[in-house]
């Protein structure tokens, strides 16, 4: 099994004097992003993807996840970034977005982070390559800037159909 399961066992956290966010960080190019750990089901290595004809360009295709067929979205394409050759760091993050299981192709997945909510700042305009509506906020951690993604906005139903209509 090439799945590195990120279960929610990290949740046990009694010393919640301050509210903590549990995140999984990922990279696209030079930028570091993070998503809520509860949305992540598992992280897989790159595997064979079946292309879906006539699908929106950011839909890379579908994969077989233990007998279930789920769509896979290329996050670079979704953000309008240049496509990059897949390598051994490329990962498919399996996420649960509004009840729908989806795969998300990212350049790499780095770590599980626990950060206090206090270090998250609201999105400054034009802070990143990507449209600010997908961003929940920005966390400053030492020298690092981590962009918190709003997965429901990014791949949620309403937005998805909207894009399909555009195509």
């Amino acid at each position: 099994m090439n799945a590195l399961a990120v279960s929610s066992s990290e949740q046990k956290n009694p010393e919640a004097a301050e509210e903590l966010l549990q995140l999984v960080t990922l990279t696209l190019g030079d930028e570091e992003y993070a998503v809520d750990i509860l949305k992540v089901q598992e992280i897989n290595r790159m595997k064979e993807i079946t292309r879906v004809p006539n699908a929106p360009s950011y839909v890379e295709g579908v994969i077989n996840l233990r007998g279930k067929v789920i769509p896979v979205v290329n996050l670079r394409a979704k953000f309008g970034l240049m496509d990059k050759e897949k390598d051994d760091k490329t990962r498919i993050m399996i996420m649960d977005i509004q009840g729908i299981t989806m795969g998300l192709i990212v350049d790499s997945v780095s770590e599980v982070l626990r950060i206090p909510t206090s270090i998250v700042e609201p999105t400054p305009p034009m802070a990143s390559n990507i449209s600010s509506e997908f961003i929940k906020g920005i966390a400053k951690l030492d020298e690092r800037l981590i962009i918190l993604l709003d997965m429901d906005r990014l791949l949620g139903k309403s937005e998805d159909t909207e894009l399909l209509q555009l195509n």
Binding site: E48, R51, V52, P53, N54, V62, G67, P71
Partner: protein, 603 residues
């Protein structure tokens, strides 16, 4: 409301709906047969049970209506009054009202229907029927007892549980009432059951034979069975490979034997699970006698309805989705197919029109046919209309075979109410028929002969979850094409394919068919492959369209399990779903009903 109560009520609703559904066609049968004690008994019992359960749960309005219908039924059964058309109308109306009341209970919308009008009507009907009857020995007594019900009419909301005196009194002539066999939590509420103890007992036994299971549980089993099928395919694949590399090894032999066994068991399991979802199509057919009766009466036509093969079992999804298309077709036959009685006589046909609905299994298909002996479809008129709507060109209209022309009625945009009258109306909502049937992965066609009638035929696959498909390779990609839409597969020389004004065509046995390169339709990257001298071509039919598609390789026929893909608008992509092959690969199943739209649009 507590959960328990909710459950009891929802059970009541299900049961009531089933009862009403069951007795509805009986009324119509009764009307044609005249007096039939068994039928009347059956209806009476249904009403009675409904009344009892409703009374226990305090749905007084249901009780009021059911009780009055029941009284009428009882008198009919005992031969005290005769069945008239008016009486039947009122009873049918009460069945409709009951259905409405039940639906309100089901939706919990709290809407109170005003039933007082109907109640009075029922009482009136009974009274007229009784008074119009030659007085039998018992009837005077009954007549005197008649007045009490109206009192209740004006106090329909009395909360007290029903305890209606008259039926019991009358019942005294019959053998003493047995204790109610049905486990009713509170025995004191309802008038005791008093009819035919034996039949009642037999019925209870039958009930135990059936288990009401939540559909989602069956679907779960279905899913799991699908998984096993995939695992089996994969195992068979691996075993065959092992056999090639280690042929003769005792363990490999053992493995082959076991996988062979697994193969058979899995097929049986698949069938068994499939059967769990199958239900007799009677569930759909049962509402048609009533519909035909009402519609033909409205239109002043006389129509006999014959139903065959209502025991034919079809998948639950088919039951759910085939009702509407059939209603459309039958309505169409009554409305526009069958002529007025005078017209029929003038044509030398029997005055009574005939509609035959039948269902049967043919190979792996379920065929449902609706045949009428009406005037048939005017093919020229269909052509004219298709022409005026710009659906076909003048040239096409002239070349078109009658067979193809008739099927134009299934085109979206063909039927609109206003023009339909001018065209003697055929084709109202026929595109709805086609779309719904296509959703079930089947196809609809029509065969017609002037003044002899028309037959609408719907062919559906036996099951929707597992289909036979042709696996093909297009470029480096594999796809599955449902076998139901493939007519034949051919290998043709490249030189056989001609080009007519930019459209590739292929002549097959004298017929010129358009040919589409699947690699183009699906935008498959071909990596500049050298074009092969020989091409594989599939002749496909989707509705009225017949065409060829070319692929790079035929990989063979396979039984595949359809998996839906959540999160992709698969319909817009021309995909029915996906399947997982023996080697774990995801293969998409092409949906030509959608693909043809863009294929033919870009011509």
């Amino acid at each position: 409301m507590s959960d328990e109560m909710d459950e009891i009520i929802s059970e009541f609703v299900t049961e009531a709906e089933e009862t009403l559904e069951k007795i509805d066609p009986m009324f119509v049968e009764l009307e044609t047969k005249g007096y039939d004690k068994d039928l009347l008994n059956e209806i009476f019992r249904g009403m009675h049970t409904l009344k009892g359960a409703a009374g226990f749960l305090g749905f007084q309005n249901v009780v009021d209506v059911a009780h009055r219908s029941e009284s009428i039924m009882k008198r009919l059964r005992d031969g005290e009054i005769a069945l008239t058309r008016d009486l039947m109308d009122v009873i049918l109306k009460s069945v409709d009202t009951l259905r409405l009341l039940i639906s309100h209970i089901k939706l919990k919308d709290g809407v109170e229907e005003d039933t007082s009008g109907l109640l009075a009507e029922l009482d009136n009907a009974l009274e007229t029927a009784v008074s119009g009857q030659t007085v039998s020995q018992e009837s005077p007594a009954i007549k005197e007892e008649q007045p009490p019900p109206p009192e209740e009419v004006f106090t329909p909301l009395t909360p007290e549980p029903i305890s209606i005196p008259e039926p019991i009194k009358e019942e005294r002539i019959e053998p003493p009432p047995p204790p109610r066999p049905k486990p009713q939590p509170q025995p004191q509420t309802i008038t005791p059951t008093h009819e035919e103890p034996q039949q009642q007992v037999v019925k209870e036994k039958e009930v135990v034979q059936n288990l009401r299971v939540d559909v989602s549980r069956i679907d779960k089993v279905m899913d799991l069975a699908g998984e096993i099928v995939l695992a089996r395919n994969r195992l068979l694949n691996l075993a065959a490979k092992l056999d090639m590399s280690y042929s003769g090894d005792a363990n490999v032999e053992g493995l082959l034997e076991t996988t062979g066994f697994l193969d058979r068991v899995t097929s049986d399991l698949q069938l068994a699970v499939m059967k769990m979802r199958m239900q007799p199509i009677q569930k759909v057919f049962s509402k048609f006698p009533r519909m035909v009766r009402d519609l033909s009466k409205n239109l002043g036509k006389d129509i006999d309805l014959e139903i065959f093969g209502e025991d034919t079992e079809v998948d639950k999804t088919v039951i759910e989705n085939i009702g509407d298309p059939l209603v459309h077709i039958i309505r169409n036959s009554i409305d526009h197919g069958i002529e007025q009685p005078e017209e029929r006589l003038a044509k030398g046909k029997p005055q009574k029109g005939r509609i035959i609905i039948s269902a049967y299994q043919k190979g792996t298909l379920i065929v449902i046919e609706v045949t009428d002996d009406g005037k048939g479809i005017d093919i020229d008129a269909v052509k004219r209309k298709a022409l005026s709507k710009g659906l076909i060109t003048e040239e096409e209209a002239q070349r078109m075979s009658d067979e193809a022309a008739v099927n134009l009625i299934f085109l979206p945009g063909f039927s609109t109410k206003d023009v339909s009258t001018e065209l003697s109306g055929r084709g109202v909502g026929m595109d709805v028929v086609k779309t719904n049937v296509a959703k079930l992965n089947g196809y609809a066609e029509v065969i017609t002969k002037k003044d002899q009638g028309s037959t609408f035929r719907i062919s559906l696959p036996l099951t929707l979850a597992i289909i036979q498909a042709m696996m093909v390779r297009i470029g480096a990609e594999h796809y599955a094409i449902p076998q139901t839409m493939i007519e034949e597969t051919l290998r043709v020389k490249k030189s056989d394919i001609k080009d007519i004004t930019g459209q590739k065509v292929l002549t097959i046995r004298g017929k010129v068919l358009p040919l589409f390169e699947m690699a183009q339709v699906l935008n498959v990257r071909t990596n500049g492959d050298v074009e092969q001298e020989n091409k594989y071509v599939l002749v496909a039919t989707v509705g009225d369209k017949r065409f060829c598609i070319s692929v790079d390789e035929l990989l063979g026929q396979e039984e595949i399990v359809i998996k839906t893909i959540n999160g992709i608008e698969s319909e817009e992509c021309g995909i029915l779903g996906a399947t997982i092959t023996g080697d774990g690969r995801v293969v998409l199943i092409l949906d030509f009903a959608v693909l043809t739209r863009s294929m033919f649009a870009s011509r």
